[in-house]
Symmetry: C2
Subunit: 459 residues, 2 copies
C-alpha cells in the first residue's frame, strides 16, 4: 500500500480511525492461533456506508482487506496473510440496535460481543443460545463468519440456526440485505445461508438479525463417571436418542480429568476413564425431573459407576468446573497444543476415540480429548514440546491421521473453528476437486478480484 492509499482511506473514516503506525499494526496482527501476520493499515469504520466506500476503494486498487472482530479465532481467519487493510469492526460497529420482544428478534452490529447480547436479552426474559467458549470476548460478526457453536448446541443448534437476516457489503461496495425479520422467507437465493461460515471471504457483514427464544425457567446439571471412554461414548449417543434432548452433553477423558485435578485439586475421579457433564432445561420442574431421570437411566445402562446431580447453583458450578478448565489445564502435557475440533456422527464417537488412542500410541504423543460430544464434536489436543522440531512433526502427522479417520467415519474437519489457514492443507482430504472448483466459482462470483480475506480456506 502507498502513502496515498492511507491518505485516501483517512479521507473516508477520518484521521483518528485509520492507522499504519507500528503499534496499531502489531495490535492487529494476531489471533488465537498465535501466528503473526502484519497488515499494512488498520481501519475502523463507523457505519455500513464507510464499509462500502472502503471496500469499493480496495477493490478498485486491488488491496487485500480482512474483516476482523475480536481476533479470537482458532484458524487464522482474521490474519492478513497478504498484508493490506485490516477492517476492525469492534471499535465503532458494536451496538445492539434493537431487541424486538414482540417478534423475539435482535438486530446487532457485527462488533457486539456474544455475551453482551446474551446478557441484554436475558434481562428481558429472552435467550440467545449459541455460547462458544469465547463468549466473553468473541464478536457476533465473527460468530456468524465462522458459524460458532458452543456447549448448548446439542439442544439448541449453532449460530446458523439463529441467523434470520444479514446486511452485508460486497467487495465491489454494493450493500445487500439478505433475509427478513420473519421465520420464513423463500424469495430469492439464500444469501445469508452462504455468508454464514464463509470466514469473511465473500462479504463484510454489517448487521445481523438473530432469532431469540424464551429463557427456560429451570435447569439442572449432572455428572456421570465412567470406567472407560468407550462406555461414556456409548452413553452419549444412546442418551441423545432416548427421546430427550439435554442442553449439553460434554466429556473429559482421563488425561483431561488428571490435568484439571493436578492443577486445581478439586477431588475429581482421576481413575475414571471419562466423565460426562450434562445439563437439562425446561419451563416446569416436572420436565427437569423427567429428563434427569432419563439421563441417569441411560448413563447407568451404559456402564456409569456414579451419577451426581447438582442440587443448587454452586453444585452445578462445581460439576462444570472441570469442563470449563480443561483447555488451560492440559498444557501440563506439552508447551504446544495442536488443537482441532473434529466432529463425527454421534454413534461414531466410540470408534473415533478408540482410534485416536491408537494414533497416540503410534506416534508417541499425548492426546487429551474433551468437548461437545452431545453433537459429536471432540476437541482433540495433540500436545508436544513446541521447541523440538521432531516433536512438532510427529504432532502434525498425528493430526493428519486423525483428520483421515474423522473423514472415514463420516465426520468433518471442523465443527466450530473453520478452516482459515490452519486447516487449509487438509481441505483436499475432505473435498473433491469438483467441490473445490465449486467453492472457487462461488468465491469468484462474490469477489472477482480476490481482495476479501485472500488465501483462506484453500481457495
Amino acid at each position: 500500500m502507498t502513502e496515498q492509499n492511507i491518505r485516501d482511506l483517512k479521507e473516508i473514516v477520518g484521521n483518528e480511525d485509520c492507522y499504519n503506525d507500528k503499534a496499531h499494526l502489531s495490535a492487529y496482527c494476531y489471533d488465537a492461533t498465535k501466528d503473526r501476520k502484519y497488515p499494512e493499515c488498520v481501519v475502523f469504520p463507523h457505519n455500513e456506508e464507510e464499509v462500502s466506500k472502503i471496500l469499493k476503494y480496495c477493490n478498485t486498487h486491488k488491496i487485500p482487506i480482512v474483516p476482523r472482530g475480536a481476533g479470537s479465532g482458532f484458524t487464522g481467519g482474521a490474519l492478513p496473510i497478504e498484508g493490506g487493510v485490516v477492517l476492525a469492526l469492534e471499535k465503532h460497529m458494536n451496538q445492539i440496535l434493537e431487541i424486538d420482544m414482540e417478534n423475539m428478534v435482535a438486530r446487532v452490529q457485527p462488533g457486539v460481543v456474544n455475551m453482551q447480547l446474551q446478557k441484554a436479552v436475558e434481562a428481558v426474559g429472552l435467550f440467545y443460545p449459541p455460547d462458544p467458549a469465547s463468549e466473553h470476548y468473541s464478536t457476533l460478526g465473527g460468530n456468524v463468519s465462522e458459524n460458532a457453536g458452543g456447549m448448548r448446541a446439542a439442544k439448541y443448534g449453532i449460530t446458523k440456526d439463529f441467523v434470520m437476516a444479514l446486511r452485508a457489503v460486497l467487495p465491489n461496495g454494493d450493500i445487500i440485505c439478505a433475509g427478513k425479520k420473519t421465520i420464513k422467507d423463500v424469495a430469492g437465493y439464500n444469501i445469508a445461508g452462504i455468508l454464514i461460515a464463509s470466514e469473511g471471504t465473500l462479504a463484510v457483514i454489517t448487521e445481523i438479525t438473530l432469532k431469540l427464544l424464551s429463557k427456560p425457567k429451570y435447569k439442572q446439571s449432572a455428572m456421570g463417571i465412567f470406567p472407560s471412554i468407550q462406555t461414556a461414548m456409548n452413553a452419549v449417543y444412546k442418551t441423545m436418542a432416548s427421546g430427550i434432548t439435554p442442553v449439553a452433553m460434554e466429556f473429559l477423558d482421563n488425561l483431561s480429568i488428571k490435568a484439571v485435578e493436578e492443577k486445581f485439586h478439586k477431588g475429581l475421579p482421576t481413575d475414571a476413564g471419562a466423565i460426562l457433564i450434562t445439563e437439562v432445561d425446561g419451563n416446569l420442574p416436572e420436565e427437569i425431573q423427567y429428563q434427569i431421570a432419563k439421563v441417569e437411566e441411560k448413563f447407568y445402562e451404559n456402564g456409569a459407576t456414579q451419577f451426581i446431580k447438582a442440587t443448587n447453583e454452586q453444585e452445578a458450578a462445581d460439576l462444570w468446573f472441570a469442563r470449563k478448565n480443561a483447555s488451560p489445564s492440559i498444557t501440563i502435557y506439552g508447551s504446544k497444543k495442536l488443537n482441532e475440533d473434529i466432529t463425527v456422527p454421534r454413534s461414531k464417537l466410540p470408534e473415533l476415540l478408540e482410534k485416536i488412542q491408537q494414533v497416540s500410541q503410534k506416534y508417541g504423543v499425548i492426546i487429551p480429548c474433551f468437548g461437545h460430544t452431545g453433537d459429536g464434536n471432540v476437541h482433540t489436543n495433540v500436545m508436544v514440546d513446541g521447541s523440538k522440531a521432531e516433536e512438532l512433526e510427529k504432532g502434525h502427522k498425528a493430526i493428519e491421521e486423525i483428520f483421515k479417520i474423522t473423514i472415514e467415519l463420516g465426520g468433518t474437519l471442523s465443527g466450530e473453528h473453520g478452516i482459515g489457514i490452519s486447516k487449509a492443507p487438509f481441505m483436499k482430504l475432505a473435498f473433491t476437486q469438483e467441490e473445490m472448483n465449486l467453492f472457487r466459482s462461488i468465491k469468484k462470483a462474490f469477489d472477482p478480484n480476490n481482495i476479501l480475506n485472500p488465501g483462506k480456506m484453500a481457495l
Copy 2:
C-alpha cells in the same frame, strides 16, 4: 431438441425411461399453478450417475432441463417454460435409503413423498416436523428446492432447519456432496444452504440427509373465537412471545369461516371475526396443561370470546377441520383464486390484515385469508371470476398492492411457495438491483450456460 438428442438420452436411461410422445409431454406439462408448459422430452433417471450423464449431455448441447418431483408447486417451479427436458425424479429415485436411529438422521432420495418419510420415522418413534399442506403428494426434493413450510413451522421451523447434507449434480455433470451427518460442519462454503430454496436453478438434488427429532408423546389442540381479526392477530403474537411455543397457531378470517360452514355445515361461528386453532406438544401431561393454560390466558387477555379445548383425537380433528378445508371451500367466492403466501414479522399481522381489508374495498374484490400466523405467514386469496378479463386485472392489481404493503411491513413475497414464474414480476419490489445482480452472479457460477430451470426467479 432433435431426434438424435432423444436417442442419446435413451442411450443413458434406456428406452423405457425416455419419452417424447404426446401423452408423456402432457403428463409432465403442469403444476399446481394450472399453467401448461410442454417439455420436448421426459426422462426418468434411475440414479445419480444417470443424472450426471444427462446434465452433462444437456450442458454440452445447451438443452434446458427442469428437475421435477410431484409437480405440486404453486409458482411454476417445475414448468419447462423454455421446453427441453423434464427430469422426473419421482419414478425411480424415490427410496428412503436409511433411517439412522442412533444419530436420528434419515437419508432419502429426492422423489420420496413427504408423508412417506413422516410415517416411516414415526413408526420407530422419531419425528420429521415439516408438514406442508401438500404432504401427501409433494416430494422431499421439491420441499428442499422450495424450502417448504407447514403448520408445525411455528415451533419446529421449516425444511431448511432439517437439512443436514445434500448430494447434488451440477449442470456440468459434477457430483458434489454438501454437508455431513453431523450437527455441526463448518468446513467449506455452506453449499447446502444455498441449494435450499434455489428452486432447481443451481443443481439437481440426488440425496437428502435430514435431521429427525424424537416424537413428542402428548399433544393437545384448542380453538379460540375472536370478535375481530385484529384481536385475533394481537393474540397470535402475544401468545408466541409469552414464553411458550405452540406447535401451530393457525387462523381463519370471517370469510373463510363462512365458506367452510356453507360447504360443510359443521356449526362454525359464522359471526366471529376470526378463529385461531392451535396445538401444543410435549413429553409430559404437565407440559401440555401448562402450555394450554398459557394460550387460554393470552387468548382471553386479547379479546377471545370463547376457548374450546379438544379432549380427545376426534375433538381435535373437529377443531382442525375448518383449517384443513379452508382452501377448497373459499372457491365459493370466485372461479379463480389468486393465492399468495406473504409473510410478515408476527407483530405486523394486525396491520397487515387491516390493510388487506382496505385493498379488498378499494378494488371491490373478495380476499379471504387464512394461514400460518404463528410464523407470520398469511395465505391471501384474491377471488375473481376467471372468465372476465377486467376482474382478473383488478385481482392482479390488488395482489401487487398487497405485495407492496407486505414489503413495507418488513415482510417477504413468499413464506413457502417460492418465486418461480408466478412471482417473478414482483421480485423488483423486494430486491434491489445490487441484490438481483448478486443472484445472477451466483446462478452463473453454478450454471454458466443457463440450462437448469431457465427463466425462473426473474434471473
